[in-house]
Symmetry: C2
Subunit: 356 residues, 2 copies
DNA sequence: ATGAAAGCGCTAACAG
DNA sequence: CTGTTAGCGCTTTCAT
């Protein structure tokens, strides 16, 4: 019963027309033929059903079903100049704090017929340019940046390409295009105030060394200092800085190092939950009771942070929300919907649990 | 100095030819014009540099550089029927045990000019069909399955599409197409023997309920039983089964539940490191010393498993290797290279650390 | 509401 | 080694 894909078997076309024969599966032409309409009508039935009569719609749908037709989005994208592809750029996928965002971005996009392409920059600049080349080559309808485009050249290239851009996980006053994030400075201030309110007076930090962390740390340190929370003998808030990506081991070594210098430390602000969890493990080894002897606060609110004992106090960022807003921004832009703003501060919240 | 993209300004073409004007950036034609060659020659210079004279190569490269030309892969893919796109299907990205594989797959593909498209099935069957539609629609050069294609319909659809398929994380005797993985049965047997060799005699399991885990558990239970390792009062190896995805909390509740029934248990085999880590945390709360009172062995070898105290003994699967092999398989197939085999068992290894 | 024609940007197929 | 021509499968434009 299968209507075979048919280069009309009759030799009624000049032989030269068959210089290049199609080999893949069914095409829209097959559907159209089967439904007894022109290809463009079949196209309309699939893309703008309202623009076609119910009878035709029905017949086209039936034809599609019958042969199992799946539209070729490469062809569609080429013709319409809308690839329905969105690229997201993250440092690395393993152990990433951006996965929640990626997940919801994927979902949001999928719901509107868009797909996500994931690009990893790694932690060296070298790959950014190559990555950008491949991204632009696919002509995506948008790019979501997690803010780790360090190569100025790549950045400029991207901007020049004219592809809509969403920057995330930060609030800058000079966005390239669209923006959804939160203020790292504000977070530093609030965490310091939070620890102060809990009675902590000798604080320290363990942190990655990326640009945002540095701004966050600065705000934290200044606030803490102003509140008189530096440990005895320290003129600054002590910090243990590790290169990204951070891990539990950073927390373990960090705690050891800090305690060796400032035995009186009574609270540590960590730049990720993983680091905070590492601090907890090392505190266990050292026999330091948490939260009595030492308070710990993380950043990111991993699932497992809730499952530790005691459960970890942390700063929560709603990655899911970032992802869905970023997705909406791009879709709205692609479909030329009128939109109030393309900048959004989603804030953060301190989730207090057992470690403070 | 910028050579503007030029619809020849003279009105020397019939108006009708301009029915559809290009709007995007530069095209290969612009490059060719600038280099003084035919478009196809420019194409060759970029894709098969060896097929072109050094002089032409140089001129084309210069032209590309000058205008910042980036090839349109939608057009290229459409014309050549090779999209250079590969799809990977995983349950979900957050908390996935497949990320290491995805990472290395991405890398392997990128090195050969291919890109990865990530598809998530979620933990309900419902989305699989829709996901497949979008995957096929992009005409990828291959699909990597992590073995969670439950919908028979989707599976059949995929097979019929003719897209090369790599199944991973398992060894079946009846692969659809290509295969790279390891034997879950063998793992069950070896873990039981390992615990036996360490002197454990009252074992239990905490496990997810997916099909592979079930096969693994069966092998573990049979071997353990044969070796006389069921706890007193049990005729079977006790197990605590939780729905996927597993997490630390599964381990915590699992341990409580098992100990309540069989207080003498002296070793637990967990279906993931996260579960094992949860067991460790709960053991700490219950005051059960690890490994003296209770041995724990996980599966997956997460980074953090090494950083716990004591460090976790676990079964390591080389996800990086799975990814690179799967990538190679697809690339070799796409480029029609002669290949010995498209099936590979990469095995696993038990990494003994402090919990056994 | 439907269709014909043209073309998106690129590469396969065949010359020369 | 280089060029001409046709066409990948779809959608835009314009006409009916």
């Amino acid at each position: 019963m299968t209507e075979k894909k048919s280069p009309p078997p009759a030799a009624d076309l000049p032989a030269v027309r068959r210089a290049r024969r199609s080999k893949g599966g069914y095409t829209l032409r097959d559907v159209a033929k089967l439904a007894g309409v022109a290809p463009i009508t079949a196209s309309r039935a699939l893309n703008t059903p309202s623009a076609v009569s119910p009878a035709v719609l029905e017949r086209v749908r039936e034809a599609v079903e019958r042969i199992g037709y799946v539209p070729n989005m490469l062809a569609g994208g080429l013709a319409s100049k809308r690839s329905r592809l969105v690229a997201a750029v993250i440092p690395t996928i393993t152990g990433s704090i951006f996965l929640e965002m990626v997940q919801s971005l994927t979902q949001t996009l999928a719901d509107s017929g868009y797909q996500l392409m994931l690009g990893q920059t790694g932690y060296e600049n070298s790959r950014e340019d190559a990555l950008l080349e491949t991204i632009i080559g696919r002509r995506p309808d948008g790019v979501v940046l997690t803010g780790i485009m360090r190569s100025g050249h790549a950045r400029k290239r991207l901007i020049n390409s004219g592809i809509p851009i969403v920057e995330t996980w930060d609030m800058t006053s000079t966005p390239i295009d669209m923006l959804v994030g939160f203020s790292h400075e504000k977070m530093g201030v609030e965490v310091a105030q939070f620890l102060h309110a809990r009675g902590r007076r000798r604080v320290a930090m363990i942190s990655a060394n990326d640009e945002r962390a540095i701004r966050r740390n600065k705000a934290f340190a200044e606030t803490a200092l102003a509140l008189g929370m530096a440990p005895p003998g320290a003129t600054e808030v002590p910090s243990f800085i590790v290169p990204a990506p951070t891990s539990m081991i950073s927390g373990r070594t960090g705690l050891r190092s800090l305690i060796a210098q400032y035995p009186d430390i009574d609270a540590i602000f960590c730049s990720s939950d993983l680091v905070a969890l590492g601090v907890m493990i090392e505190a266990g080894v050292l026999g330091m009771a948490i939260p009595d002897r030492l308070a710990v606060i993380g950043l990111g609110d991993l699932d497992m942070s809730r499952d530790f004992h005691p459960a970890l106090t942390t700063v929560r960022i709603d990655g899911t929300r970032i992802g869905s807003i970023a997705g909406r921004f791009i879709i709205d832009r692609a479909e030329e919907r009128p939109v109030e703003t393309y900048v959004q501060d989603i804030g953060f919240s301190i989730v207090e649990r057992g470690t403070t």
